[in-house]
C-alpha cells in the first residue's frame, strides 16, 4: 500500500516531469522550425534566418510573438464552434502522445525509482496510435468548418490520406510487436539493449531495424505521410490548394496547427527510435549522473537524425499527386506491410518450434 506521502511524492514528481517534458517539447518544436529553415536554407545555397539573434536563434521567439499579435480572422459563415475546436484538437492530440514516450532509463531519488517517462502504459503503442488517429478529426473539422472550398478539398484529401496511411503505419510495427512480445514502449526499447555476438565479438546492436528492415521502411514512409510532410504533403499542398485545410486560419489558431504538425514529427521520430533503433541504447560510462543522462542523450541524438532526415527529404523531392499517393499507400505499402508480417510470423514460428 502506498502511503499518502508516497502518493504526494508521486504526484509531485509527475507534475514536475510533465512540466519539464512540455517545456522541452515546446522548445524542441520552436527550434525544429529554426532548424528546418536553416537546413533547407543551406541545402538551397542560402543562409536561412540570420537577423534575429545570433544565427537567427531568436527567430522562433519572434515568430511566436508575431503569431500572438496577428489579427485573428474568421470567415463570415464559418461554423464558429467547430472552427474554434479544430486547432485545439490538433494541439491536444499532438501533445498527448508524448506522455507515454520513454526517453531514458530510471534513476533513484530518496528511495523512489523514477522512470524517465511520464507514464508507462502497458499498451503505450496502441495509445499513441489511438491518439494520433484522433488528430485526423482536427484536419477534417478545420476543412469543413472554414466554409471555403480550398480548405474543404484539403480536409477531404487528408482524411483519405491519413486513414489509408494509418493502416500501413500500424502494419509496419506489427513485426516489432511480434518479436518483442509487448506493447509497452519501455518494454520494446528495453528488449533492444545489448549486442549480437558472433564468436564473442560484438557485431551489431540488438536493434529491431536489423530484424525488421522492411517493417521500418513501411513505418517510416507511412509516418512521413501521416505527418503531412513532403513528398506526401497533399492536404496542405500549397501550390494547388493554397494552404489546404488551414487556408482560412490565422494568428494563433494557425500557429496551433503549425505546432501540432511539428509535434507529430517529433512523436513519430521518437516512435521510430524506440521501435527500430533501440531507443536510448548506446555507450554508457562515467559517474552515476552521467549514466542517467547519456541514454537520454543517445535517444535525443537518434530522434534528431530522423528529424534531420525529414527536413532533408523536403529539400529534395517533389510532391505526389493525390491519386498516386493513394495508389502508393494501398497498392505498395499495405501489401508490403502484410508480406512483412507473414514472413516474420513464419520465421518466428520456425524458431520457436
Amino acid at each position: 500500500m502506498a502511503t499518502s506521502s508516497d502518493l504526494g511524492f508521486f504526484l509531485l514528481v509527475t507534475i514536475v516531469k510533465v512540466a519539464i517534458i512540455l517545456w522541452v517539447l515546446l522548445t524542441a518544436i520552436a527550434y525544429l522550425t529554426w532548424l528546418e529553415r536553416k537546413v533547407i536554407g543551406h541545402i538551397q545555397s542560402r543562409w536561412g534566418p540570420y537577423l534575429v539573434g545570433p544565427h537567427g536563434l531568436l527567430q522562433p521567439l519572434a515568430d511566436g510573438v508575431k503569431f500572438l499579435f496577428k489579427e485573428d480572422i474568421m470567415p463570415a459563415d464559418a461554423d464558429r464552434l467547430v472552427y474554434w475546436l479544430a486547432p485545439f484538437i490538433a494541439m491536444v492530440t499532438a501533445f498527448l502522445s508524448i506522455a507515454v514516450i520513454p526517453f531514458g532509463e530510471s534513476f533513484e531519488l530518496r528511495g523512489h525509482v523514477i522512470p524517465l517517462q511520464i507514464t508507462d502504459l502497458n499498451v503505450g503503442l496502441l495509445f499513441v496510435f489511438a491518439v494520433t488517429s484522433l488528430g485526423v478529426y482536427s484536419i477534417v473539422l478545420a476543412g469543413w468548418a472554414s466554409n471555403s472550398k480550398y480548405p474543404l478539398f484539403g480536409g477531404l484529401r487528408s482524411s483519405a490520406q491519413m486513414i489509408s496511411y494509418e493502416l500501413a503505419l500500424g502494419l509496419g510495427v506489427v513485426g516489432v510487436l511480434m518479436i518483442s512480445g509487448t506493447l509497452s514502449l519501455r518494454g520494446i526499447a528495453a528488449s533492444q539493449l545489448g549486442f549480437w555476438r558472433l564468436g564473442g565479438i560484438l557485431i551489431l546492436p540488438r536493434w529491431n531495424i536489423f530484424l525488421q528492415p522492411v517493417g521500418f521502411l513501411v513505418y517510416f514512409m507511412a509516418a512521413i505521410a501521416e505527418t503531412n510532410r513532403v513528398p506526401f504533403d497533399l492536404p496542405e499542398g500549397e501550390t494547388e490548394l493554397v494552404a489546404g485545410f488551414h487556408t482560412e486560419y490565422s494568428s494563433f489558431k494557425f500557429a496551433m496547427f503549425f505546432m501540432s504538425e511539428y509535434a507529430n514529427m517529433v512523436t513519430v521520430s521518437c516512435l521510430a527510435t524506440l521501435l527500430f533503433f533501440g531507443g536510448w541504447s548506446g555507450p554508457v560510462f562515467g559517474p552515476g549522473w552521467l549514466r542517467v543522462l547519456l541514454p537520454v542523450f543517445w535517444f535525443c541524438l537518434k530522434v534528431f537524425c530522423f528529424l534531420f532526415f525529414y527536413i532533408w527529404v523536403r529539400g529534395t523531392l517533389p510532391r505526389f499527386r493525390y491519386d498516386q499517393l493513394m495508389a502508393f499507400g494501398w497498392k505498395f505499402l499495405l501489401p508490403l506491410g502484410l508480406a512483412n508480417i507473414l514472413v516474420t510470423s513464419f520465421v518466428l514460428a520456425w524458431i520457436h518450434s
Binding site: 533547407i40 541545402i43 538551397q44 545555397s45 542560402r46 472550398k149 478539398f153 484529401r157 513532403v230 513528398p231 504533403d233 499542398g237 500549397e238 501550390t239 494547388e240 490548394l241 493554397v242 523536403r314 529539400g315 529534395t316 523531392l317 517533389p318 510532391r319 505526389f320 499527386r321 493525390y322 491519386d323 498516386q324
Partner: protein, 398 residues
C-alpha cells in the same frame, strides 16, 4: 464582371472553383474557373485581364524610341527578346542595315535571356510540383545572367538595351569575361537540375502523360515555342525565318513527340543547352566594329561628337524632342522569344509615333491550349500544366 461557369442541370454536386487571380501557382494573376467532379476537372475556363496595362495603346502615344521601354515590361521575364522584336520590326520599316557586332551582341544577349527565362520557368514549375530546392538553384544562376545584363545596360530586368539601329551603347570592357565565366559553370548547373528531376520517379509520375496535346491540335490553337516543339512540331522562327544573323549560327531545335508536360520540360532543358552553344559561338566569333547603324537621323549621336559637330547636335535635338519619321507603311516582324513566336505588327503613318502597334504575344496563344490539356484531369495536373506552357501575364494582358 468576372467570368463564371453555370452549373449543369443534373450535376448539382459538382463544385465551381475559382482558381486565382490570387493563387500561388497561377503564375501572376491568371484566373481559372474550374468545374470539379471530386478532384477531377470537368470544364475549365480561363479569365484574363487582371494585369491589363494598355501597352498597345501606350505605343501610340510615345515615339518609336520610347516604345522600346514598354516592350521590356510586357514579357518581364524576357525583356531583351521583346526589345529585339520591336527593334527589328521598326528597322524593317526603316530598311536599316545593322552592323555585325550589334547583331552578334543581340544574339548573345537574347540567348542569355532565353536561359534566364527558362530558369524562372523551371524553378517555378518545379516549385508548383513541390520540388522546392530547384527553384532557388535556378534563381541563383539567373542572378548571374542578370548581373551580365546590369553590366551591359545598367539594368537587371528592364534593360531597354537594344535600340532602333543597334545597341544603346558599346558593351563595357571585360563583359565577355563575365559571360565566359557563366558559360563555363552553367552546363554543370543544368546537370544539377536534371539530377534532381529528369529521372526522379515522382517527377516522372507527375509529368509523363499529363496535359497531352497533339501536334495538330497545338498548331490549330496557335501554340508556338517550346510548348509546340514538345508536341513534335520542329518549328522555330530562328530557323524558319532567320533574323539578326541566326543563320550564321549552328544549333539544334530540340523536339519531343509525346506532347505531355515532361516533353515540354525536356524541350526547354534542351533549349538551355542549345542557347549556351549559341552564346559560345557568338562570343568566339564576335566581330569588331561599331554597334550602331550609320543613320544619323535615327540613331542618337555619340556624346563626344555633339560637342564638336553642329549636325550631331541638331540630330540629337530632333530625335530627342520629336523623334524620327519612318516611311508610311506597315510591317510585321517576329522573333523566337523564350515562349514562342513573338511578333510586332507596326503601322506607320509617317509621324514619329506608330499609328498602331499590335503584339502577337506567344503566351496569349499558348494559353488557349490550357483547357484542352486539363479537362478530365486532376487539380494537381492543372498546376503542372500551367507551369508547362510557361505563360507570362504581362504579355497576355497587354
Amino acid at each position: 464582371m468576372p467570368l463564371t461557369l453555370e452549373k449543369v442541370p443534373g450535376h448539382e454536386e459538382r463544385v465551381i472553383l475559382s482558381m486565382g487571380p490570387q493563387h500561388p501557382s497561377t503564375h501572376g494573376v491568371l484566373r481559372l474557373v474550374l468545374e470539379l467532379d471530386g478532384e477531377t476537372v470537368v470544364r475549365a475556363l480561363y479569365d484574363i485581364g487582371y494585369l491589363h496595362t494598355g501597352f498597345e495603346k501606350s505605343f501610340e502615344r510615345l515615339t518609336y524610341s520610347q516604345d522600346i521601354t514598354l516592350t521590356d515590361r510586357m514579357d518581364y521575364l524576357a525583356p531583351l527578346s521583346n526589345n529585339l522584336g520591336f527593334c527589328l520590326a521598326v528597322e524593317k520599316l526603316l530598311d536599316l542595315e545593322i552592323p555585325p557586332k550589334a547583331q552578334w551582341v543581340r544574339v548573345l544577349l537574347t540567348e542569355l535571356t532565353r536561359i534566364a527565362s527558362h530558369l524562372v520557368w523551371l524553378g517555378t514549375h518545379a516549385l508548383d510540383i513541390g520540388a522546392m530546392s530547384v527553384f532557388l538553384y535556378c534563381f541563383r544562376e539567373r542572378e548571374e545572367i542578370l548581373k551580365i545584363f546590369e553590366m551591359v545596360s545598367g539594368q537587371r530586368m528592364m534593360t531597354s538595351y537594344f535600340r532602333i539601329g543597334g545597341l544603346a551603347l558599346e558593351p563595357p570592357i571585360g563583359w565577355l569575361k563575365r559571360v565566359e565565366k557563366f558559360v563555363k559553370i552553367f552546363p554543370d548547373r543544368i546537370d544539377e537540375y536534371e539530377d534532381l528531376l529528369t529521372r526522379n520517379p515522382i517527377w516522372l509520375k507527375r509529368t509523363q502523360g499529363v496535359g497531352v496535346i497533339s501536334g495538330d491540335d497545338a498548331v490549330a490553337l496557335g501554340v508556338s515555342g517550346p510548348s509546340l516543339r514538345g508536341s513534335g512540331v520542329a518549328w522555330d522562327v530562328r530557323k524558319s525565318h532567320p533574323y539578326s544573323s541566326y543563320d550564321r549560327f549552328q544549333f539544334e531545335i530540340p523536339t519531343r513527340p509525346e506532347g505531355d508536360v515532361y516533353a515540354r520540360y525536356l524541350v526547354r532543358i534542351g533549349e538551355m543547352r542549345e542557347s549556351l552553344k549559341i552564346v559560345r559561338q557568338a562570343m568566339e566569333g564576335m566581330p569588331e566594329g561599331p554597334v550602331k547603324a550609320n543613320a544619323p537621323h535615327i540613331v542618337l549621336p555619340e556624346r563626344d561628337s555633339m560637342k564638336t559637330s553642329i549636325e550631331a547636335l541638331i540630330y540629337h535635338f530632333k530625335i530627342v524632342t520629336e523623334g524620327f519619321h519612318p516611311p508610311v507603311g506597315e510591317v510585321y516582324h517576329c522573333v523566337e522569344s523564350p515562349r514562342g513566336e513573338l511578333g510586332f505588327y507596326v503601322v506607320s503613318d509617317g509621324s514619329p509615333r506608330p499609328m498602331r502597334c499590335h503584339v502577337r504575344a506567344p503566351s496569349f496563344a499558348n494559353l488557349q491550349a490550357l483547357p484542352k490539356m486539363i479537362e478530365g484531369r486532376l487539380i494537381a495536373d492543372v498546376v503542372a500544366c500551367i507551369g508547362s506552357i510557361d505563360v507570362v501575364l504581362g504579355e497576355i494582358d497587354r
